[in-house]
């Protein structure tokens, strides 16, 4: 079992003919993901790794019944691409593109609410349900099927943790990167709810970072609604205030958004907090053993 994507996922890749789109489509096809279509305006009729390319998402959906879209287009075209998929009736859109303007995402997330489309991202690594579908850029080689659900604001830190889990022999139901931007399509609590509802998921790893208050909201949600063991980590414990650490979202401002505050919220909610990433797998093993 898994959340969001599995063997029934019929993936469409927007920006498939670009450098990254082509490269990662290859990896997804190789992993076994059912990539049914690609879209690049003006490149309709081409093929990339055997996947047919269309000029518009509407055509691609009409021809292939795609039910999930993955976005690699440049930042300035990103909002348009997300809305194109939503309007074509695609219920799940994964947005890898980074440096997307915040006001674009304000418009898009509001529009998606009315359309019932879920967006994950932007500025995220996508997600993977090991053994059945990889949608995005998380390396398949570091994952293996198993009982742990993982959700993270960070990309490469997620890989780090997946690698440690897999190395220890602990597999995953699904790993979801929600992205590090200030305005995200999907938040921690959405993914926590999905993991809580997924019978195959026996423990949940949540990787936060400094900035905003989503970790605090997630902690409150865990305390009230999540019965499964949750293991947490917060990156940026040593980050200075007022300096943006990479992500537009990762900044301690006005005394809020600190790692200390988030860690305290996690602990108050009964979440096991790792002191550094290498400890996460250890804590997962403990909680799984206990559970």
């Amino acid at each position: 079992m898994s959340i969001y994507v599995d063997g029934t996922t019929r993936l469409l890749v927007q920006g498939i003919t670009g450098r990254e789109g082509t490269f990662h489509t290859g990896h997804m096809v190789e992993y076994g993901t059912n990539v049914v279509a690609g879209v690049t305006p003006g490149k309709g009729g081409q093929r990339v790794h055997g996947v047919p390319v269309y000029d518009t998402v509407a055509e691609a959906v009409a021809e292939t019944d795609a039910n999930c879209s993955l976005i690699y287009v440049p930042a300035r075209f990103c909002a348009d691409a997300v809305l194109e998929s939503a309007d074509a009736g695609i219920p799940l859109v994964i947005t890898i593109t980074e440096q997307v303007p915040v006001h674009d995402m304000i418009r898009v997330t509001t529009a998606l609410q009315a359309r019932g489309t879920t967006m994950i991202g932007p500025n995220c690594p996508g997600l993977i349900s090991p053994g059945s579908a990889k949608v995005g850029i998380i390396p398949g080689s570091i994952c293996t099927p198993g009982p742990v659900g993982l959700v993270s604001r960070s990309g490469t830190l997620t890989y780090e943790v997946l690698f440690a889990l897999t190395t220890r022999g602990i597999g995953q139901t699904t790993a979801v990167g929600i992205g590090g931007d200030p305005v995200q399509g999907t938040k921690f609590i959405d993914v926590l709810a999905a993991f809580e509802a997924d019978p195959a998921t026996k423990a949940i790893v949540m990787i936060g970072e400094i900035g905003g208050s989503d970790e605090e909201a997630a902690a409150a949600y865990v305390a009230e609604h999540v019965g499964k063991p949750v293991i947490g980590f917060v990156a940026g414990q040593t980050a200075p205030a007022g300096k943006q650490m990479g992500h537009a979202g990762a900044i301690i401002s006005g005394g809020s958004g600190t790692a200390a505050g988030k860690i305290a919220a996690f602990e108050n909610a009964g979440i096991s907090v790792a002191r550094h990433p290498d400890e996460i797998a250890e804590l997962v093993a403990e909680r799984l053993g206990a559970g």
Partner: protein
Amino acid sequence: MNLYEYQAKQLFGLHGIPIKEGRVARTAAEARDIASSLGGPVVVKAQVHTGGRGKAGGVKLASGSDEAESIAAKILGMDIKGHRVGQVLVDPAVDIDSEFYLACVLDRGARRILIMASGEGGVDIEQVAAETPERITSVHVDPGLGLQSYQARRLAYGVLHALPDARRPAFAAVLRDFQHVVAQLYETCVEEDATLAEINPLVITTDGQMLALDGKVTIDDSALFRQQELASLRDAGVETGAERQAREAGLSYVDLDGSIGCLVNGAGLAMATMDVIKFFGGEPANFLDIGGGAQADKVAEALRIILADARVNSVLINIFGGITRGDEVARGILAALEQLDTDVPFVVRIEGTNAEEGRAILADAAMNTATTLAEGAQLAIRLADERKQGQSQEVVA
């Protein structure tokens, strides 16, 4: 990207919000000229990207151009919370009847712009929010509809009704002006791609005019491609040389005080790498995120920036490839090493996409390698300590 007060107020002025016609000076003589052309008393205000200027002595009233010059001379070059004052704003002095707060701010949780208004102006709004939240009125704006008149009215009447009786007549008299300022501030926020547009204080003068007396604006860096004029306002002065160099190369870099240089892909992993170094007793020299999909030349530039910092005694390269590929990073490292003659030891850890290819490329370069982050961090700390001691010994010798 943060704007200075004078830039923020210029932007407000462009969007029809009433401001004073002051100008910015970089020397005391310029301050004198501006004060004399304005006539009458002026306020000289340090332009720095930090709060608490008033307490630090960075804002002073001057009765005329002589005094403006002498005050500017004192303020220019002043250090306010680590920020050197390079310019002052010389504004005509204003007789204030009462102060208000008004801001458009990104509400990450709601995924919308929140407009907040209060009769408590000129003070820290976070304190007002904590102590007397009933004195703040706020509305969220639907991005599809934009700000509606009723929302501006709701803010106006919310502020009015929360005011003490004695202050109501003055505000009631400018209720429409206030609603206009609300609309124009929201326009500023959207059209300029701001994540914060704050007027604090927004004042009513003793002759009944609304005026934006101080302002703070943060522009979304991701939107600078369509805000070319704003991009040109970026003030290189507040960045260190390395930070500017990094930004121009498309790297995300923050200068820190330690001895271990970090080169990482991904903000979260970069922060975690810093955290781990500190956890094991080391001190990171920087935060450096090469971003997703970095190619060899970007990696090489990142290494150049790190090695230019004389405090760096070891470099921890921690790459977990996704969109970034291990082989590209490895090629970047080799390219940098060819050009730079350095004895700083490197610890390299590459996992994920094309990691094996990357490791193969580096195999001949005889580098220290690590399999886990904890192992890599501990090794980098040890190597840095050794090199520091070695240098001390050299000095002693």
